[in-house]
């Protein structure tokens, strides 16, 4: 898969993800981690390459194929991106009712359960600007889960949070991992990645440089670039 304008932002990214796996994407800023996630949900159009989900290739130029792909992926953004004009409950329930045309009563019951699961049962009627960053991010995770995705994409979901709020979001993700959710996690929380990821992919300058179990990637890096990266990360 590759993406880019004048200079390719991504090139030579090849990655297979099994069901139930949690993949950690790490790498320096600008290495293309977020670009991969944004490309998967069709917010950026790939120039070349192929994304295959359950054996079926995704054609990002075709609306119907893109729609099918977006049904299977759900993304959570760094800045939460909750709809500012809707309550927490509505944020979670809107896509299933509107896009998937499911029964509103049933969807809202599910949405309440999801919000309870991320610890926000009392905040169903709060608007985003009435919630803390950590609470907003947990609503955003509930919103993504309401779509019943096959694969959850987490794009630096704790990067915009105050340090004391990071824990609550990470706990939520840990619980998802225990439930067997397939996830691609872009994060700078190396300790967390090490803990939840089944495999870690190190990206640099738009390419996957190294992939492997966390222990291998963090403790026995083979490429000089990864060694350089981990040594700088682990120093603080």
């Amino acid at each position: 898969m590759s993406y880019g304008g004048k200079a390719d932002v991504l090139r030579g990214v090849s990655l297979d993800v099994e069901r139930g796996e949690v993949i950690g994407l790490i790498g320096p800023s600008g290495s293309g981690k977020s670009t991969i996630l944004r490309t998967l949900v069709g917010l950026l159009k790939p120039k070349a390459g192929q994304v295959t989900v359950d054996g079926a290739p995704v054609d990002y130029a075709s609306r119907s194929s893109l729609r099918t792909a977006r049904d299977r992926f759900a993304i959570v953004f760094q800045q939460y991106n909750l709809f500012q004009n809707m309550t927490a409950l509505r944020n979670v329930a809107i896509a299933p009712t509107l896009v998937k045309k499911r029964d509103r009563g049933q969807v809202e019951a599910e949405a309440r359960a999801l919000l309870a699961r991320v610890g926000l049962a009392e905040k169903v009627n709060a608007y985003p600007d009435e919630l803390s960053g950590g609470q907003q991010q947990r609503v955003a995770i509930a919103r993504a889960l309401a779509l019943k995705p096959d694969i959850l994409l987490l794009d630096e979901v704790t990067a915009a949070l105050d340090p004391e709020l990071v824990g609550e979001v990470l706990d939520t993700i840990r619980a998802l991992q225990r439930d067997g959710m397939t996830m691609l996690i872009v994060s700078h929380e190396m300790g967390f990645i090490r803990e939840v990821a089944s495999r870690v992919a190190f990206l640099d300058q738009g390419s996957v440089v190294e992939v492997g179990p966390p222990a291998d990637v963090f403790d026995r890096p083979t490429s000089p670039r990864l060694r350089d990266f981990t040594s700088r990360i682990l120093r603080h």
Partner: protein
């Protein structure tokens, strides 16, 4: 001067004149509210057609942009003349009122398109990203996410321009449309004091503009408290 006003007043506010002024008032209201209303709807359409993330295909974008940029920059009187002569050239039978109404619509559409564009652009791109990634159609991104958040930005200038159009309709008197200003001119030429004629429509214009402005302020305050759907 005041003696003449007092002397003229009973005759000025006689039934015939009141009927005449009433008809003029109706025309002013129709030109203002109907014209601005239709124009605003067309303007929103233009803004949607211009937006690259909505329905903005290139030829449509160029045409809409050209229209908006040109029509916002021509004085109302010139637009009025252009529409007037365009109707004449085309040979279409149109009343002077229609000419004026079309002019207001064309003006309002251009200004509303620009206001709506600013409103749409006030909604940050990540809001679009989230909706698109969840498979919202363009129409739903617009109606469920973008438009409800745009109103707060778009409403105050929209009402500002609405008041502006009420005042602009007075220019239609230049081609002889019977609206308030023209009515005052006619009554003045019939010998009523200028102070009485123009003083009366001054009050009437104020009575139209002021509530319009207040309505805008109240909607704005309501949206400010809770700009939510």
């Amino acid at each position: 001067m005041w003696e003449q006003v007092i002397e003229d007043a009973p005759r000025f506010f006689g039934p015939w004149n009141l009927l005449f002024l009433g008809e003029a008032l109706v025309n002013t209201l129709l030109l203002s509210y109907l014209g601005a209303g239709i124009g605003f709807v067309i303007g929103f359409g233009l803004a949607i057609g211009r937006h690259p993330r909505l329905y903005g295909v290139l030829p449509l974008r160029i045409a809409a942009t050209a229209y908006v940029e040109i029509f916002r920059r021509i004085p109302f009187l010139v637009k009025l003349m252009c529409v007037f002569f365009a109707f004449q050239l085309s040979g279409a039978q149109a009343s002077l009122f229609t000419v004026a109404l079309v002019t207001v619509v064309l003006s309002a559409a251009a200004f509303a398109a620009e206001i709506a564009r600013a409103g749409i652009e006030s909604v940050p791109a990540p809001q679009w990203d989230a909706a698109e990634a969840m498979n919202f159609s363009r129409w739903r991104v617009l109606t469920r996410v973008v438009a409800p958040q745009s109103w707060r930005v778009a409403l105050p200038p929209l009402f500002g321009y609405a008041v502006g159009f009420i005042k602009s309709t007075s220019i239609a008197s230049q081609i002889g449309v019977l609206e308030l200003t023209y009515a005052a001119k006619i009554l003045n030429t019939r010998g009523f004091s200028a102070l009485l004629c123009f003083g009366t429509i001054l009050v009437v214009y104020f009575l139209i503009c002021w509530p319009t402005k207040r309505l805008g302020e109240r909607l704005e305050a309501r949206l400010g408290r809770r700009a939510k759907a």
